[in-house]
């Protein structure tokens, strides 16, 4: 195993909550996502059909938790969560798990907050890898946590 690439700056980042991201759940966003994934269920396209089934509004399909509100010019670098360098160029999504607590519907505004929970290093077939584990909480406008995501990103 090569020397560790986990620096003090990275260790210090563990458990620190990043800046919140605001995402709007819109009817158009829901339909666009549902169509891209190939859904045919009317609950994702027709507000009346969704309400008939007891939802507050047009239902968001799994994996869609709103469209992040875009700000021209991007974020102030000081605001960005990551304050360390990773010495690998290539990146892979290693896996994702969502837990859903509440239905998400058009009109909801979701604030997500993410933190790193762990770094792991492994010698893979493609060379040394750094695996970053992250947990993200998604909170609705009324303060209710609607979903939780755990995922890992592989840099190699």
């Amino acid at each position: 195993m090569a020397e560790s690439v986990v620096t003090d700056a990275m260790r210090a980042a563990i458990g620190v909550e990043g800046p919140p991201t605001i995402a709007e759940v819109t009817a158009s966003g829901i339909r666009l996502f549902a169509r891209a994934v190939g859904h045919a269920d009317p609950a994702f396209y027709d507000e009346a059909a969704a309400k008939e089934r007891g939802y507050r509004g047009l239902l968001a399909p799994p994996g869609y938790l709103g469209t992040p509100v875009y700000r021209p010019g991007g974020r102030d670098p000081d605001e960005l969560g990551q304050r360390y360098e990773i010495p690998y160029k290539r990146i892979l999504n290693g896996g994702t798990t969502y837990e859903y607590m509440e239905p998400v519907v058009a009109g909801d505004v979701i604030t997500s907050r993410s933190r790193i929970t762990e770094f792991r290093e492994r010698a893979g077939s493609m060379g040394p890898m750094l695996i970053t584990y992250r947990e993200t909480l998604f909170t609705r406008q009324d303060g209710k946590v609607v979903a939780k995501m755990r995922g890992n990103i592989i840099n190699y």
């Binding site: 891209a36 994934v37 799994p62 999504n93 290693g94 798990t97 239905p103």
Partner: protein, 140 residues
């Protein structure tokens, strides 16, 4: 129609094709819908000449979304309480994906019947692209 506990037993399987001959257009649609504009997924010149891939490939989250579609079609909308995947191999334009869910456990939590599923998505060559698990609320 939501699934009923009385209709299920451990070991039951359910299978569905979620995409037949995946198009680059669908990958681009997903880029727009998700806001993930990484050029590996939408720019053929970048993917091949700069990044060295044979062509563009689907976002992992698109494969997850298509896998999830089979689940919501089967267990009913608003029923998934947990859905996790690992991205095992890449999904390319032209791929046909089949999702298979296997009932691992039927249980109750605070009076709510739940089903635990093992989920596997394979391409037309039988190669697994997504491996995962899910939990859904079911009716008694």
């Amino acid at each position: 129609m939501p699934l009923k506990k009385s209709q299920l037993k451990v070991g039951d399987t359910h299978e569905a094709v979620v995409v037949d001959n995946l198009t680059r257009t669908q990958i681009v649609q997903y880029a727009g819908a998700s806001g993930d504009y990484n050029p590996l997924h939408s720019d053929e010149v970048f993917a091949t000449k700069v990044a060295g891939y044979p062509t563009v490939f689907a976002h992992g989250m698109l494969s997850m979304g298509m896998t999830g579609r089979m689940l919501t079609d089967w267990v009913g909308d608003g029923r998934l309480t947990k859905f996790g995947v690992r991205f095992v191999s890449q999904v390319w334009p032209g791929d046909t994906l089949t999702v298979k869910a296997t009932v691992e456990a039927i249980r109750e939590e605070n009076g709510q019947p739940l089903v635990d599923l093992a989920v596997s998505t394979v391409n037309q060559d039988g190669r697994e692209v997504v491996s995962g698990s899910a939990t859904a609320r079911i009716d008694p």
